[in-house]
Structure formats: structure tokens, C-alpha cells
Amino acid sequence: MSRSMLPRALRIVAIVAMASLAAACAQKQQGVDGQAGLGGPGGPGSAAPGSAQDFTVNVGDRVFFETDSTSLTPQARETLNRQGQWLRSYSRYSILVEGHADERGTREYNLALGARRAQVVRDYLASQGVDASRIRTVSYGKERPVAVCDNISCWSQNRRAVTVLN
């Protein structure tokens, strides 16, 4: 019956195996912040606490999703926990949560999928004590990829929700 998907276990192995490649891909093609692929803090950031750079570098501005999924992974929850804490500390910011999908889906469905991803992040941050009135969401569907190669390493970077500070 199911030619359509890799077995789940195999998929996870594949994603792990691709992780280093993903980071390389991101840096090469986008100049995206190297933390982005990992969604967590790396070394000590030199950014001023409370700055947008601090948020992006030391907190992690994005979470990633599995194919056709809107469930938060454990890593995504960790990132969002840090985001929640940071946003509670720096309440002067309102935020826009952008939901995105990879290119491996149909356009309209991916627009709705991106909206649902943004909504999931919004709900999670609200549950972490971030006032919901500070959070706006938007979906870009598959129209705004950050990584443009044609393999799983790029697709996995594009299935994301990005928290943008205002």
C-alpha cells in the first residue's frame, strides 16, 4: 500500500544523517545564521541582551517541522521555551510568527499548512505566558524558501515557523 512515505524510523535516520549537510547548505546558499539549522544557542553570543540579534543568535528564531506535520518536535519545544522566556523578559516586542512549508506539496494546501504551523507556535508561546495580543501570525506557504537546493536537507530547513520581532 504505502509507497508514499519512508518508514518513520528510516526518515528520522535520514534527517539526522543530513543534519551536517543542512547546515552547510544553509551557509553556502543563504548566509543564514548558522544556528538556524539547530534551533538552539551555539557559543556565547556577543549580541546585546534584549536585541534582535540576541534573539536570533542566542535564543533561536525558528523551529522546524517534519514533512506534512504541524506537531512540535522536542527540539522545537526547547526553542519555543527559550523564545517564551525571552519574550516575557523583553515585553516591548510584539512578534509576527511566519509559517512556511517546503516545496514538496501543493500550493493551496501548503498555504494552509503554513498557517497551521504558525498557529501551533502562537498557541505554544501563549501557553508559555506570552500575551496572545502581542502575537500575529502569517503564512507564506511554500513561496518564501530559505534554502533552494533540491534535496531533503533544504526541504527540512524550509518547513519552519520563524518568530520575527517587531
Binding site: 506534512d68 504541524t70 500550493r107 493551496e108 507564506y140 533540491d150
Partner: protein
Amino acid sequence: MKSFLTAALLLASLFVAPRAEAVLELDITQGRVEPMPIAITRFGDASGNPQLGQQVSEVLTNDLRRSGLFRPIDQSAFIEAGLGVDAVPNFGSWRAINAQALVTGRVTPQPDGRLKAEFRLWDVASGQQLVGQQYFAAGDNLRRIGHIIADAVYERLTGEQGYFDTRIAFVEESGPKDNRLRRLAIMDQDGANVRYLTGSQNEIVRSPRYSPTRQEITYVSQPIGETPRVYLLNIETGQREVLGNFPGMSFAPRFSPDGQRVILSLQQGGNANIVEMDLRSRATRRVTDGASIDTSPSYSPDGGQVVFESDRGGTQQLYVMSAGGGQPQRISFGDGRYGQPAWSPRGDLIAFTKLAGGQFMIGVMRPDGSGERIVSTSGSVMESPTWAPNGRLLLFTRETSGSGGGPTLWTVDITGFNEQRVPTPNFAADPAWSPPLE
């Protein structure tokens, strides 16, 4: 511009011989057909401007060749050169080059600036005239004359409605893949006369659909940072307006067959439901309601039913329901995910995009879900099928992969044969085939 759109083409009269019996016919229902050899003469013109007639011949020849059903014979092989529209052909000389059908014609500029176009279609074997017509057209509608004659030839020889005198709306994509400029555009069905209707780097446009009855397009516009919303655009005046005052994202619009309503998806939290809007009263009516993504609705040609995609069963699948409400019935049961259903204007088939085994496919099935047939497959993204007005061809997007890749437009016969690229100046996606032009 007005004349470009309103196209003052008049069918003046059938002239000369009465229509003959159906001696020459092409059965196009059986999949791959041997293309019919057809001779299309260089159309003469009485003005001393040889370009006019030749251009019409070229448009006509290109249309018939691209249909896959005809094999236009190279003009250099013609024995009876310079055959005019008033002459009876020497059929032996056309049989000698294996022509089965022969088209002659003439384009004549009129004192009032219009063009008069005359043509005849001959059955070479029997020596009978099958069609003889003349048209008057505005002076800037030379290419349309070619398309209208192509429609007449196609209709006479296949028994099917022609589709050459039509347009395509699409989203043009240019610039790098991670920072595309997306412009709403329309063009003739053969890729000529591209015209841009939007053009901002700060706006993402998606999903244009032609009104079946007016010079209008509905589509989705999203200024960067803002919520996508469904718009209605008047092609002639360029005026556009948001459809509805919805709190959330509205998307995936499509007109009803009578042009009076637009059906679309409305985002509410994590879910998308289908709503129908009456364009006169602007009253909305909920069609679906639930904790799922319901989108890409498409009416049956009688307006009585709606097909849409929903993940209510766990994955994207196709459902059909009464447009008035009621319980949706799932119709897709194969491996994989199904989306973007488009109901054929004939009513007999529903086209869809399918994702299975890492492949993208364009396929068709009957409205009850039986008879699924894949007409094209790709490892890269392929999507957005839209029907030719005669229900014989599908137009869709196929992408080339990687950073330099992008979408292009393709047509395919519903039998799966004769894939043809539709030429566009840049990458192009989200096609919508217009109804036949007035």
C-alpha cells in the same frame, strides 16, 4: 486596448459550397492518434503586404501542430504553389504529397481599418469543401484570426469544440528562487501577447481563476508581512477589490459556472473551511465546517456539486459534496495524497495533483472516484491542473529542481499523450485556462 479585449470578430457568412458529408474525420478519443497530414497554404492578401496572410497561416499551423492531432506539411513540398482561396485545388497534386486536408485563405485589409479573412477547408481525397467562412476583425487582431480558423478546422475534423481562441492567466516568476518577483499575467493560449496585471516585489500573487462570464479574474494577493486575501480584478479597467471582510486568510478562490459566486477557503485558527460568496449581495455561506484543512474547491459544471481536498481523514484526499451542503463523500482511495481537484467543463472527469512515492502526478478520475488514470509523472514538483474549455486537455505546472530551477507550463491530452510546453518569457505557475473568448 479595448479592441484587444472585446475583439470585434464577426462571423459574416458561410459562403460558396454547402457543407459536405463527414468524409474526413479524426477520432481523438482513443489515445495516441496518427496525426493527420494537413496542407496549409500561405494565405494570400490583396493589399500587397505578404506579411498579413503569412502570419495568419503561421498561427494556424502552429495551433494545429501543437494539438498533436495534425501534421502540417512543409510548404516547400507543395506542388500547386500559390493556390488562392477562390480557386478549386488540383487535388491530385495534394494527394501526391499525402495531404488529407487542405486549407486555403486570404486576408484583406478593409477601408475602415478592419481585416477581412476568408478560408476554405478541403477534403483532399473526395475533393469536397468541408468549411468555407469569412470573418471581419479589428486590425490588431491578426493572431486571433489564425486561432479562430484553427478552431474551425479542429471542430470540423474532430467533432470537438476548439480551444485555440482562448487565453491563459498565470503567475509569472522571475528572480532568484528565494526572492521571487511574482506577477499576475495573461496571455494567448499559445504564449503570445503576454500582459501583466500586477507587478510588485512586495506582493505574492497566487491562484488566478477566470470568470466564466466576465472579463474578471479572482486571485490571491499577499503583501509581504500581511495576510493573503482573495481579490476580484477587472481585466479591462485594472480595478481590484478584496472579496469579503474576513478576519483571517482567504485563499483558493474559484468562480461558479454561472459566474455569480466565488467559492474559497477561509482560515480559522489552524483550520481552513470552504465558504461561498454571492458576488451581487456579498452574502457568504459556509460550505464545510470542521477541524481540518478544506481547500481547492471546484464546482461541477452544473453548479450542483463541489469537489475539494481535505485532510479530515488524516491526509490530503478528494471529497465531493452537494453545493447546497450535506455530507462530503471521499472519492480518492489510491496510495498517496491527492489535491487541487478541478472538475472538467464536460463534467465527466475530475483532474487532480497526486503525491505518492516521492513522485508528483497529474491525473484524472470520474466524479465517483472510479477510473483513476495518471496522465503525467515527475520527480520534481508538478501541480495546478486546469482544463481546456473543451475538456480534452489539461494545462499544469512542472518545475525543474534546484536553485536555478522553476516552474513552466505544459499541456497534455487527457489520454496522456502529446505533452507540450507553453512558451512563457520567464518561469510561470498557477495556470488558469479562460473560457472561449467572445
